[in-house]
């Protein structure tokens, strides 16, 4: 069996890193982007499988590395249920949650890990993963605003910084998006390109904008 090795992060970066385990479908993008914005605006660093693209790096290896590098993790199980006939439900999120739980349980350097579990509707996860019965899970109702407030409240437990209220972050996120789109348009991006901004580009744009605030 492959041995777990320490992550590549320094200890300080480990405490500020938040692993995002979420769906990558188009409908989830507004939720994913609001999560990335919240994590950065609250002073943390989002870590997500889409943050880097290297054909030589196996996806599972990348995910294991991100998990090892991040003290905090957000696992969104909202796509456990298939939405139409003959569609397979997604098992990547539960798999990555299992890896993270295993890492926290069996890897001494990571026994201080903290996990936030999300679903779209309350209690739905128990029907798919009954072993999670009794575990606190937050429901965002597929609302980026609700997700942002849940995430902000959870992150406030792991920072000494005084955070602003959830509505403040939501306001700033809306304003950021308007600046972001205006900036992309002025730089000649087509509508199609604007729909397909990469996660690394998005993280960089949010970081830049927040620095100027």
């Amino acid at each position: 069996m492959e041995q777990l090795t320490a992550g590549t992060n320094s200890r300080g970066a480990y405490y500020k890193s938040v692993f995002i385990n979420c769906p990558f479908d188009k409908a989830y993008v507004p939720l994913r982007d609001s999560a990335i914005f919240t994590i950065l605006a609250c002073g943390f660093q989002p870590r997500i499988a889409l943050e880097r693209s290297n054909a030589a790096e196996l996806r599972l290896q990348k995910i294991k590395s991100l998990i090892l590098d991040s003290r905090l993790s957000v696992h969104d199980l909202s796509r456990l249920k298939s939405s139409r006939k003959d569609e397979f439900y997604r098992l990547n999120m539960p798999l990555e949650l299992g890896l993270d739980l295993g890492c926290a349980s069996y890897h001494a350097a990571c026994n201080d890990k903290q996990l936030l579990l999300l679903v779209a509707e309350p209690h739905t996860h128990q029907r798919a993963i009954s072993d999670l019965a009794g575990v606190d899970v937050e429901a965002h109702n597929d609302s980026p605003e609700e997700l942002m407030i849940i995430l902000r409240n959870w992150l406030s437990l792991y920072t000494t910084e005084e955070l602003n209220g959830g509505a403040w972050y939501w306001n700033k996120y809306n304003i950021f998006l308007s600046h972001f789109y205006a900036s992309l348009m002025s730089r000649g991006y087509s509508d199609r390109e604007m729909q397909k901004i990469s996660v690394p580009d998005f993280i960089q744009e949010v970081s830049r904008w927040l620095e100027l605030q």
Binding site: P144, E145, Y173, N174, I175
Partner: protein
């Protein structure tokens, strides 16, 4: 000029009108239409109005009337 812009933003089950340079919303509305009506008055006073969808993306950007 960021201060010369108002945003219509979703807030829970309603909508708010927020001046870009402010930390708190100007007013809460139960419907987006009401928020748009109020925003038109600011637009007539020289403010851009940015109308957002409930996922925060931009639905419409109305330039100041004058």
């Amino acid at each position: 000029m960021s201060g010369k812009r108002y945003h219509i933003i979703s807030r829970g089950t309603g909508w708010v009108l927020l001046r870009e340079s402010a930390n708190r919303a100007y007013k809460y509305f139960t419907s987006k239409e009401e928020a748009k009506e109020q925003a038109e008055r600011f637009r007539a006073q020289g403010f851009d109005i940015v109308i957002h969808r409930n996922d925060a993306t931009v639905e419409q950007w109305l330039k100041a009337a004058s």
